[in-house]
């Protein structure tokens, strides 16, 4: 796939220039919590 503007944004820093530490932590926590829940459920089914 050819490099597009989306990719350039991801590779650069401008897109992230207003991001705060707490918002990144929050995004990570939500994913982590959901991942844990899924693992628990999978454990129940096994």
């Amino acid at each position: 796939m050819e490099k597009n503007k989306i990719q350039e944004s991801i590779e650069g820093q401008k897109l992230f220039s207003k991001v705060t530490k707490s918002s990144v932590d929050k995004a990570r926590n939500v994913i982590q919590q959901y991942s844990n829940k899924r693992q628990e459920k999978e454990g129940e089914y096994k």
Binding site: N4, I6, Q7, V19, T20, K21, S23, V24, K26, Y34
Partner: protein, 143 residues
């Protein structure tokens, strides 16, 4: 999972699909699976691959999620990662400072105290005027 989060995942997943495969390959499979299965399939995402993401109307939480992916999986080296973390920390400090300025309980107390002081000053001035008038009347009535 809230509807809002599902929409954020839709937006993020749509962006991931516009990236080169190597970006997807660097993310753990279970994380992609969560985005894929939990996204809102009815939510229509409009991402234009010809316009930089910073110029598109992305949800701030989508940008934060992309920032998380960047720091955790996409940074080329530790320097790049640390530079980003520094930006996030600086922004955090600025935001906290702004919040402190907006909702500082000390300032609210100061405002209340100065109001009370103003009221007391008005009362004091009024009592001073009353005393003066009383003296004036008693002086006139004596004559």
């Amino acid at each position: 999972m809230s509807e809002y989060t599902k929409r954020v995942y839709s937006e993020t997943f749509a962006i991931l699909q516009l990236l080169q495969e190597e970006f997807m390959n660097k993310i753990p499979e279970n994380l992609i699976e969560i985005l894929k299965t939990e996204k809102d399939d009815n939510y229509i995402v409009n991402i234009n691959p010809n316009i930089p993401l910073e110029e598109q109307d992305l949800d701030p939480d989508t940008i934060s999620l992309l920032a998380m992916l960047k720091v955790d999986y996409w940074c080329e080296d530790e320097n790049e990662k640390n530079e980003l973390l520094e930006i996030f920390n600086k922004n955090e400090e600025e935001e906290q400072e702004n919040l402190r300025e907006q909702y500082n309980p000390d300032d609210l107390f100061k405002e209340k105290t100065s109001k009370i002081e103003d009221e007391q000053l008005i009362q004091y001035k009024e009592s001073g005027i009353k005393k003066f008038l009383n003296k004036l009347f008693s002086f006139i009535s004596r004559k």
